[in-house]
Amino acid sequence: MERDDVIEYSLDAHHSEEEGKVLRKKIWKVTAILTVVTIVEVALGAFIKQGSVIWPFIKWTFVILTLLKAGYIVLSFMHLGDERKALKYIILAPYIVFMLYLIFVAISEGTAVGDALVNYGV
């Protein structure tokens, strides 16, 4: 069923063989980055014990590396980096703002509940 009032944007998304080669190289490069980051995370997690002195530093390293991986997956694999700026912002901005707020609220409430449990019993 052909509609003439809808623009078929995906017909413009095609690329040639040569452009394809360049894109594939970039894909493999991002794959290598993700693999190396995962290996580093697993090695840190497996060999550094949770009680040790540098553990808080390691925890933050995990969070940063995970955000890095997430960034590569969303911007490169999901092609959000190639989309219009408006779409990028509409997807990322509310989510990030909400998540930051949710994490802040959870930590505040969690601390409050934890203190209450310790002070007033279970």
Binding site: I7, E8, Y9, S10, L11, D12, A13, H14, H15, S16, E19, G20, L23, R24, I27, W28, T31, T35, T38, I39, E41, V42, L44, G45, A46, Q50, G51, K59, F62, V63, L65, T66, K69, A70, I73, V74, F77, M78, H79, D82, E83, R84, A86, L87, I90, I91, Y95, F98, L102, I103, A106, I107, E109, G110, T111, V113, G114, L117, V118, V122
Partner: protein
Amino acid sequence: MAGHASQDISATNLWDGKVSPFSTSYGKLMMWFFLVSDALTFGGLLVAYGFTRHDALDAWPIGEETFNSMPFLGHGYPLLYVALMTFILIVSSVTMVLAVEAGHRMDRKGVTKWLFATIIGGFFFVGSQAWEWSHFIHGSEFGKVELADGSQAIVKGHFGELKNFTVIEAGKHHEKGEVITDDLMHQFQHAVVLGHIENGIITLHDGSKAKVAKAADEHMVLIIKKTGKENKIGDVIEGDKACNIYGEVINSGEANRVIYGANLEQNEYGPQQYGQFFFFITGFHGFHVFSGVMINIIILLGVIKGTYHKRGHYEMVEKTGLYWHFVDLVWVFVFTFFYLI
């Protein structure tokens, strides 16, 4: 990649109507909106996990201690299997990107090949997660023990092999003098939980009593996870003292001093909420992986049939790819917050 999205169109033209302000189709936009809503769901679950962990008063399980087994290879490989699962899922995401890239070149054979590889990766992941669940439910060989002073400890070490049970008193199914050699571990663990082992003599299900022939446990380490009258959280007992204490618990003849695995009432790893969050979050994620694999199969059938080639574009593969990458993205976060931190 020349297309509407890469052209510099002034804002008044974009937002005046008749064109998509994002230069993208309705279907793709809606997929993105769905992914944001699903991401909020998983985000909420992970924050709830963090909140619960933050004010859990009992010791929380440690990732590299709890998850240290590989299928067929046994224990001693901290986090290796879950690292392999992460790698498999990332690779399946890569094959998905390659399928989308092939679609942009109208390369039907390429799309088929890479989409099929993605489906295989997805099945491997779901299968691996199923093994992880079954291993988690089944528990370790040692279980979690309740010591004489009321404290609880998890046990690390090498479990001495069970050689056989020699029947010394006949029961309904076994005769005196019979040497039992199969299903030893299962019967042993059942008997320990029920308190049916006393001083090396096990009472089997049918009422017969047998002498347990077992190799000595080695490299034993008891790590206290719940404070009792003498031992506190975090204490570590090693060597012969650990062997003796563990042996005393097993041979005490008292029921419910050892917990194996995880179930709805208690688990050997830590607080009940740990098991509940583990099953819920990984289960919900696994459900998404499974539905993703099903959708991928349906789309693959469409690719093979030539539906998208006739249409002139492989956008359906791209939209399915977005869902698959989302599944991978969620796993990256679950992996970090559940297993690593």
